[in-house]
Amino acid sequence: MIDVSNANKTFTMHLQGGIELPVVSGVTFHVDPGECVVLSGPSGAGKSSILKMIFGNYRCDSGRIGIRHRGALVDLATAEPRQVLNIRRATIGYVSQFLRAVPRVATVDVVAEPLIVNGLARAEAQARAGELLHRLNIPERLWQLPPATFSGGEQQRVNIARGFISDLPILLLDEPTASLDAANRAVVVELVAEKKRQGVAMVAIVHDDEIRHLIADRIVDVTSFAAAA
């Protein structure tokens, strides 16, 4: 589903006299359907950058980000912007640590949106959103409120619900359990297991050893892609 080969990324900081910050080089790994690959390595090793490169949020300087999209292999690193948008709509989902809340939109609609964008009827999408919010222990009285005023942990759970609601074949998880309590971490582990059974390919970053052990099928050590500075 994902086939990254020899991908490189360097930041050039023009405002700091043009210094070059190498991030990663020679990133090469693949992910099969139904598999969860966890990226490991110390803070600053480039795990999040790799995730962002696979999502097309960071541009690669060279190399290939192969993605199976609608049955064909496409290279995200060279795709046109609107092709990247199509790939995100139909193929790749991204669960970040932080919710980028849109003002005035009710929680249940924030969660249902990815389904509505793909053509599901609003009522059905909201029903599925409700199920997930319920599983993630967001009380029903909050569903009609915009999540902007929620606590950090609640916002993160809304974000997880939004990320897991879709039927996208690839999911990228950036510390999905970071500020959750034990009960909610267990729900996320369950959700990941369900996605595996549905054949979803996942790449995750998790710092919690116990969670990593529970969800990882394979571990890719990012330190081997450390850019030669």
């Binding site: 930041f11 050039t12 900081m13 023009h14 405002l15 962002k52 097309g56 949020n57 960071y58 541009r59 290939r64 192969g66 999209h69 609608r70 049955g71 064909a72 292999l73 496409v74 290279d75 060279t78 795709a79 046109e80 912007p81 609107r82 092709q83 990247v84 948008l85 199509n86 790939i87 849109v102 003002p103 005035r104 939109v105 964008v117």
Partner: protein, 265 residues
């Protein structure tokens, strides 16, 4: 094997090729080329004097280019060069398939006639003549832009800035255009009024599948509304790409400066 054909290939709605404009020796806009697809929201960002408003006027055929051309796929599917359209054809396009939201609502509205007439006028211009239907459609649109129906007979000069801007949007969208140009639509508004307007524009654009070209100096507006951005400086497009790519991973020195100048939320 990599198969880029698996990615959708539809036809662009508007294409700009090497668009340039100079005023004497001053080049306001140099060699701008891009294609805009149906349903796509493109933000043009840059500081004052970067040429973004000139570009918007060139694209919407309000200003004659010194070089290059703009073509548009009309409702009948035929792509025409805007420079070859007659004045009547161009006006018709502006009344039907295009909208233009000005920063100052007074430029886009008739301030002394009622809100209902401001919206209804666009419908009459495309041949509607049944008073009851026009009024119903106008009230429907006022509701969609969150204006109290009780104010339908009041003139916009009695409206607040935010209401005027929402009325201008209703007036533009009532004919179901496929392309809307926006020039700093939230420019003169209070922050709270801005947020409400942006939210409204965002949901209408998604609901109606509008293509939008929006000029803004506010990167937060670009991030919230647009799929793609073009960064302009000195009349040139210096960087372009997916909005989140350009804002999260800016490459050009000037874009990095713009992005680093945003105050944290």
């Amino acid at each position: 094997m990599v198969d880029q054909n698996a990615l959708e290939n539809d036809e662009p709605l508007l294409v700009a090729k090497s668009l340039s404009k100079s005023y004497g020796r001053i080049a306001a806009c140099r060699e701008v080329s891009f294609a805009l697809y149906p349903g796509e929201v493109l933000a043009i960002v840059g500081e004052s004097g970067s040429g973004k408003s000139t570009l918007l006027q060139l694209l919407s055929g309000q200003l004659a280019a010194s070089g290059g051309h703009v073509s548009y796929r009309m409702r009948d599917g035929v792509t025409r060069d805007l420079a070859t359209l007659g004045e009547a054809e161009r006006r018709f396009l502006f009344r039907t398939d295009w909208g233009f939201v000005h920063q100052d609502p007074a430029q886009g509205l008739r301030m002394a006639v009622s809100a209902g007439a401001n919206v209804g006028e666009r419908l009459m211009a495309v041949g509607w003549n049944h008073y009851g239907r026009i009024r119903d459609t106008a009230s429907d649109w006022l509701t969609r832009v969150e204006i109290d129906i009780a104010r339908i007979d009041d003139a916009p000069r009695t409206y607040s800035g935010g209401m005027r801007q929402r009325l201008q949007i209703a007036r533009n969208l009532v004919t179901e255009p496929r392309l809307v140009f926006m020039d700093e639509p939230t420019g003169g508004l209070d922050v709270s009024v801005q947020a409400r307007l942006l939210d409204l524009v965002r949901s209408l654009v998604a609901e109606l599948g509008l293509a939008v070209i929006i000029v803004t100096h506010d990167l937060a507006v670009a991030r919230l509304l647009s799929h793609r951005v073009m960064v302009m400086k000195g009349g040139r497009v210096i960087e372009t790409g997916l909005t989140d790519q350009v804002l999260d991973d800016p490459r050009e020195p000037y874009t990095q400066l713009l992005v680093s100048s945003i105050l944290p939320p």
